[in-house]
Symmetry: C2
Subunit: 196 residues, 2 copies
């Protein structure tokens, strides 16, 4: 029996991500991917059922990697302000350190392929829900639906990251670099909105 070479799987995975980030899903062809990963086209089909399965597995693994990074040093029992700050810093750090992975995720999330993905993430979602209901119970956070909370709490951060990654802010505004003071400034405003 010959064992699978996980390095090969990894190479396929990483090159696929690179290609998607560079040229979109359009740009991901199995032939080109095989060449880039130093592997025969048929080999890809040992590790992945087909092209769609490859993309979906990629997305699944990146989702886990991302939510792990998000929950670092985070505890749902934390006080609201502290917990939100930890999450902001975690998310910002991950985005800035792994712009490619981030861009892949965003591309995936906004593509029809995303619908074929079975949402998982129970541990992550559970942690978030606990955190929010704790905060409301302690009157550290105004009571609101989870979606409204999420919109106010995190959408601004990701929008800043998009400005940063696009290399430019508002069209015509020139370059925009996301710095720690800028993150702090925005977080303060978000807290102002969310705290009673």
């Amino acid at each position: 029996m010959r064992l699978r070479d996980e390095n090969k799987r990894f190479a396929i995975r990483e090159k696929a991500l690179e290609m998607i980030v560079k040229d979109g899903f359009d740009g991901l062809s199995m032939h080109k991917l095989a060449k880039a990963a130093g592997v025969s086209p048929a080999t890809i089909y040992i590790y992945f059922k087909d092209r769609e399965d490859l993309i979906l597995q990629l997305y699944f693994e990146e989702s886990i990697r991302m939510s792990d990074a998000t929950l670092k040093n985070f505890d749902p029992e934390m006080h609201f302000e502290e917990g939100l700050r930890v999450q902001w810093l975690n998310r910002a750090a991950y985005c800035l350190q792994h712009p490619q992975r981030m861009y892949f995720m965003e591309q995936m999330r906004h593509s029809p392929l995303h619908d074929k993905f079975r949402e998982f993430g129970t541990p992550f979602v559970v942690a978030m829900k606990t955190f929010v209901s704790n905060a409301i119970r302690r009157k550290e956070l105004v009571p609101l639906p989870v979606e409204v909370y999420w919109s106010i709490a995190f959408a601004p951060l990701y929008q800043l990251v998009k400005f940063h990654m696009g290399g430019k802010g508002m069209p015509g505004t020139g370059n925009f670099e996301l710095s720690e003071p800028l993150i702090d400034q925005t977080l303060e405003l978000v807290l102002k909105a969310l705290k009673p």
Copy 2:
């Protein structure tokens, strides 16, 4: 001389948008598009230079349509709270009335194709900048960089729209429908963050 049939151009345009929304950029093939639009493949190349040009023109026209809708009943000289409210209602109405066009725009914005697009939008951007600097001068808005302003002011709205369009809110939360009270509630929090 035979005149161009603008109905044909329109049919190609609309079907292309539908196909992209349904199956992503991957799903847009010139043959299938021609068939869907009731036209010969060669005809497409009379109206558009090539596949990429078709997508880029589509994006350009949708951008204009969207910013026009956004600026309806809006005047940069408005007071901050009123102006922001008008924009929120305009944007929300457009998103809810044209979910397909909205989804196309979001898909485009998060794809590598977006980089090949030359930003235009001067009238729109000028109006927004005037509005913001007016608001700051009148002390109706805390002073902050445009990108930070934008992140707080509009990212939450678009996140709500995404929840709404995805048919579900937070993963595992079940369905989420964007209603006017919900929009108002979120806008109030945004205003709380932005007003001095």
